[in-house]
Structures are given as structure tokens and as C-alpha cells.
């Protein structure tokens, strides 16, 4: 663990990733103290300073009702991070179990589990979440539910493909020959060979969950105003391009920075985990 961190901090790119993620996490946690206008996270109107470009007072400009964009972006990070952590705590374990058993057992279990997975995978991810959010009330909880529902099959399919090719390998046959139980073969023999792929996907998925969540709110189907959300901020600003460019560019860059940071770390982790094998 300590060695992993040292390797991470030595590589300039993963160091950059660590700095970006730390900045995003800290600004989400400490938003109350950092934000110049904490009250602007809610429904505040300031018709003296509305729709202004970056100034010394508002470093990222103000939105259409005069709220400080920088403050709102800090609070928006909070929503994105909470959503990402919850989805990644639930979706990967479900998908992994489904994929493992379907891939190793084959036959009827494979048919039922993978057709179920296929049903979910056959609805393009964002479309499934859009359809669900169109039906459900647009709240943070329901957004988590919709994103989790579209997320687990990706893990099922990933693990299934590995497990299916691994079951042909000698070590699995050897375990079968000495009479190891199905549970032992799937969880102790095959699962470790799937772990690098799963962990890589999870670290990279933190960014993707943020992307999907912001996409939902971009379409007006996610967290509702006045709660600050990066996606709905871009959507609101897109109607005022190119004159009020700050309305879209800063929230857009905020998404890019957060996701890029997580992806840099994910990348570096994958190399280290791969090298340790």
C-alpha cells in the first residue's frame, strides 16, 4: 500500500491526477468554507451582478440570476462525488457475481443470467437511465438507482468474457479434476484472474459515473435546480453561446478536470496492479 502510493507520487502524470482529485474532493468537502458565496448554492437572485463574465469579485463569472459560478461549481462537485461512490459500491459486486457464475457454469445458468444481462445491455446505457428518470421523480436517490441499474451489466459482461475463456484453461480443469467445489473454482481460482480488469474498470468508472450523472442533468432529468449540478449548468448556458461563454465553459471544464483526475489515477493504479502480478 505504502509502496503503491510512493510509485503513484513519483510519476508526474499520476501525481497530477492525485492533485486534481484531492482538489476536487477537498472543494466538495470544504465548500462551505472555500466558496466566496456559500448562499449561492440555493435559489438566490442578485440582479446587480447577473450574467457577468469573470471579474475579481466572481472569478468564473455569474449566472443568469447573478449567482457566483465558482461557488456553485464547488457545491456541484459534492453531488457528483456522492453519486459516484454510491453507484460504485453497489453495481460492480452484482455484475461480477452474475458474470462469474454465468461464465463458469455455462448451460442453463449462463443462458438465463446472460440473457438478463443482455436485456439491460441492449438498451443503450444513457437511454435506459433517461427512460427510468422520465418515469421516476428526479431526485438524487432515483438518479443513483437509474445509474446503478445501467451499470452492473457492464461488469457482468466483462467478467463473463474472462470467465468463459478461463474455464478452458488448465488450472480450472485441474481444480475440477481434484473435485474442488463450484464456489471455490469461481471465487478462488477464476475471480483473482478477473480482478485486474475489474479494479481497472472501477477506478476508471468513477469518472464515467460522474459523466453519466451530469448527462442526465444536462437533459433536465437529474438533480433539479436550484441544487447546483455541473450538467444542468452547461445545459442552461448552452442557450447563451457564444456571448456568455463562461456559463458553459467553466462547468464543462470542471467536469473534465474531475474526471481526468480520477482517470489519471485509475490508469496509474492499473499499471501498478498489473506489474505486481
Amino acid at each position: 500500500m505504502k509502496r503503491t502510493i510512493i510509485i503513484l507520487l513519483r510519476n508526474p502524470l499520476s501525481l497530477l491526477g492525485a492533485v486534481l482529485v484531492a482538489a476536487v474532493v477537498l472543494s466538495a468537502v470544504l465548500a462551505d468554507y472555500i466558496a466566496p458565496f456559500p448562499e449561492h448554492r440555493g435559489a438566490v437572485v442578485d440582479f446587480v451582478h447577473f450574467n457577468q463574465g469573470p471579474t475579481a469579485r466572481n472569478v468564473m463569472g455569474t449566472d443568469l440570476v447573478g449567482r457566483d459560478l465558482f461557488s456553485r461549481i464547488l457545491y456541484a462537485f459534492r453531488i457528483s462525488l456522492i453519486l459516484g461512490v454510491v453507484v460504485l459500491a453497489i453495481a460492480p459486486p452484482i455484475g461480477t457475481l452474475v458474470g462469474l457464475f454465468a461464465g463458469y457454469l455455462g448451460g442453463r445458468a449462463e443462458f438465463v443470467l446472460m440473457r438478463l444481462t443482455d436485456v439491460f445491455l441492449s438498451i443503450p446505457p444513457l437511454v435506459l437511465a433517461i427512460a427510468m428518470m422520465g418515469v421516476l421523480e428526479p431526485t438524487l436517490m432515483n438518479a443513483m438507482l437509474a445509474v446503478t441499474a445501467m451499470w452492473w451489466p457492464w461488469y457482468a459482461r466483462l467478467v463473463y468474457n474472462i470467465a468463459r475463456s478461463e474455464r478452458e484453461e488448465g488450472y480450472v480443469l485441474a481444480a475440477e479434476v481434484i473435485g474442488a467445489s463450484t464456489l471455490h473454482i469461481t471465487l478462488r481460482e477464476i475471480l483473482p484472474n478477473c480482478l485486474p480488469a475489474i479494479i481497472t474498470k472501477m477506478t476508471l468508472d468513477m469518472g464515467f459515473v460522474i459523466i453519466i450523472a451530469s448527462s442526465l442533468s444536462f437533459l433536465g432529468l437529474g438533480v433539479q435546480p436550484p441544487t447546483p449540478d455541473l450538467g444542468s449548468m452547461v445545459a442552461e448556458g448552452a442557450r447563451y453561446l457564444p456571448d456568455s461563454w463562461w456559463l458553459t465553459v467553466f462547468p464543462g471544464l470542471a467536469i473534465l478536470i474531475a474526471v481526468f483526475g480520477f482517470n489519471l489515477i485509475g490508469d496509474a493504479l492499473r499499471e501498478i496492479l498489473g506489474a505486481d502480478q
Partner: protein, 342 residues
């Protein structure tokens, strides 16, 4: 090849089963919608009697299972019902909007494979040197933002600040092209109108590229990762020891085995693009299925919601089928094995 044929028929059957599953899932989701669809369709001024009549006509008073039965019976006759929003058959609406979306997504898919795979190969071949580092950072940036952010940024840069590309639309209005397939790239070719074809290409490039950016990054990253893995295999070392050229080793020994996992993910990426088309279409005012889809969801237009999602899913199933077949052709373990073909 008979193993592949058997696989094809099997996969076709499976796709049908999956499509039935999708229809049940979507039907189930749509029936959870709070509020009375008949009331929403008729508006607040309709009388109770009108609402009751429409509920009866839409079978809304029957149990959900019976409603699903009516739905499937209609579906088998190619009838997805009438949209309460446009008052036209849903099939007509979809036929009008789907080609624009498909054209955009397919074009983006070509960009994704055409740019992403070579980038990944190149990156793996120069592993650890500067082209590798550059490509890795760029492709990571590509996957690090949703397509609506790329759409907005590309639009600001190349439509407003440097007005090289148009801001919105599929074609300049002055061209009059007879609609045959709805795919303007095809229709302009059928009309033998080179200027219009170029105009369509000019319009589609920016939105398609915005849609493809993360796919390109994803394809490049996966291809690189898989190739780097195969580069470590003994047979590549063997090929190097024989003195084969770096290009031959890259293409024949490192790229080919790593193509299979890449293809699986590219198939899934295609689905992501079908969804992301919703975002890019919104930014570029692309007259596709997205605006229709969002409009019918906001209006709780059940028939249209079910129809739209079903058609998008069917499209994706077909693409997935093609990807699976490609994998079967490429993977000798499936091509030559009875067990693998299951």
C-alpha cells in the same frame, strides 16, 4: 464455417428473446409512470367522460399483463400505436427521426474505429516513448468529458471563434434532395449531387466528431492496453528473435489477438454513442430521435416512449450481432470448437 453459421442462427434466436425481454422491461418502466396518460394527452379542459373513453380505447383499465398482450399483438403487425404528442403513428414518427440519428452515430462509429484503433496500435508500438505518452494523455482527455461538453467546446472553437463548420442542422436549406432512405449521405449520392454530398459531410463532421471523441479515446486506450499485453507474450519475443519487422509484429502478432477484447468493448461503446446522441443532438439542433425522445418523456407519451426505446435497442442488438459474428470469425477457439460455439 458451419460453426459460424450455427452461431449466427443461435445468436439471432437469442436476440429475439432479448428483444422480448427489452419490450417487457420498457413496458414495465413505462407503466410505472405516475399520472394518468389519458388526462395528460387530452389536457386539463377535457371532460371526465372524454378521459374515460380514451382510457378505454388505450386499454388502460385492463391489467398490465393484458395491456402487454395488446401491445405485442399490435407490435407483430408493425403497429406501435399512436403518439399522444404528435397524433401520428409512432412508427411514422420514428421513421422520420431515426435516420438522422443513425447517420450521425454510424459516422461517429467510423471515426471511432478509423482514428482510435490506429492511435492505439501506434501507442503500443512506441511504448514508453514520446508518441506513446502523447497519445495516452490525449486519449485519456478524450474519455474524461461527456460528449455534450465536447460538443459545446468544439462548437465554440470551430463554429463561433473560427467559423469553419456550421452551427446547426444537417444540410444547407437551398439543396433540395429527394428523401429516399433518410440518410442524407446516401440520398445525395443517389441524386448524384456532389455539392450537396459535400455539404452534408461538412454539416455532420463536427457533431459526429463530438460524439466520437470519447469513443476514439476509449478505442485507443483499449487497443494499446491489449497490445502491450500481447507484446509481452513469448511468441512475440520469438517473432522478434526471428528478426521480423516491427510493423509485421505489430500488425500480425500483437494487434490481431488484442482485437477480440477491443471489439467487445467497441460494440458496447456503440451503444453508448446511441445514448450520447441525445446530448450531441441537443447541442447541435440535429433533427434526430433525441428531441422527439425527450419531448415524449416530458409529456409522458407512453406509446412513443416504448417505441423509441424499443427501436434504439433493436438497432443496437443488430450491431451487437455483427460484433459477435466478427469475434467468432476472428477467434479460432470459437471458430474451430464445438464447446466455444455455445
Amino acid at each position: 464455417m458451419s460453426a459460424v453459421l450455427r452461431l449466427l442462427s443461435r445468436r439471432l434466436g437469442i436476440s429475439l428473446i432479448v428483444l422480448v425481454g427489452v419490450s417487457m422491461l420498457i413496458f414495465g418502466i413505462a407503466r410505472v409512470i405516475p399520472g394518468d396518460p389519458a388526462r395528460i394527452a387530452l389536457g386539463p379542459n377535457a371532460t371526465e367522460e372524454q378521459v374515460a373513453n380514451l382510457r378505454e380505447a388505450l386499454h388502460l383499465n385492463d391489467p398490465v399483463v393484458v395491456q402487454y398482450g395488446y401491445f405485442v399483438a399490435d407490435l407483430l403487425q408493425g403497429d406501435l400505436g399512436v403518439s399522444l404528442f404528435t397524433n401520428r403513428p409512432v412508427t411514422l414518427d420514428i421513421a422520420q427521426f431515426l435516420p438522422a440519428t443513425l447517420e450521425l452515430v454510424l459516422f461517429a462509429g467510423v471515426l471511432m474505429v478509423g482514428i482510435g484503433l490506429p492511435l492505439g496500435m501506434w501507442s503500443a508500438r512506441y511504448r514508453g516513448r514520446w508518441p506513446d505518452h502523447l497519445i495516452r494523455v490525449v486519449s485519456l482527455l478524450g474519455v474524461s468529458a461527456p460528449s455534450f461538453v465536447w460538443a459545446v467546446i468544439l462548437m465554440l472553437l470551430f463554429a463561433f471563434f473560427l467559423p469553419v463548420f456550421p452551427i446547426a442542422g444537417r444540410i444547407t436549406d437551398s439543396f433540395e434532395i429527394t428523401r429516399v432512405t433518410g440518410f442524407l449521405l446516401v440520398d445525395t449520392l443517389l441524386a448524384r449531387n456532389g455539392a450537396a454530398f459535400a455539404d452534408v459531410l461538412w454539416h455532420i463532421f463536427l457533431p459526429a466528431f463530438a460524439l466520437a471523441v470519447s469513443g476514439i479515446g476509449q478505442a485507443a486506450r483499449l487497443t494499446r492496453a491489449n497490445m502491450v499485453e500481447t507484446y509481452d507474450r513469448p511468441y512475440v519475443e520469438m517473432a522478434q528473435a526471428y528478426g521480423f519487422s516491427a510493423r509485421r509484429i505489430a500488425a500480425k502478432y500483437a494487434f490481431k489477438p488484442s482485437l477480440i477484447p477491443s471489439l467487445t468493448i467497441i460494440g458496447l461503446d456503440f451503444a453508448a454513442m446511441l445514448g450520447n446522441a441525445f446530448l450531441v443532438e441537443a447541442v447541435f439542433a440535429w433533427p434526430g430521435l433525441s428531441r422527439y425522445g425527450v419531448a415524449v418523456i416530458l409529456r409522458k407519451d407512453l406509446n412513443a416512449i416504448i417505441g423509441t426505446v424499443l427501436i434504439i435497442s433493436a438497432t443496437f442488438l443488430i450491431v451487437n450481432l455483427i460484433v459477435d459474428l466478427l469475434i467468432a470469425f476472428l477467434n479460432p477457439r470459437i471458430r474451430h470448437s464445438e464447446r466455444g460455439a455455445s
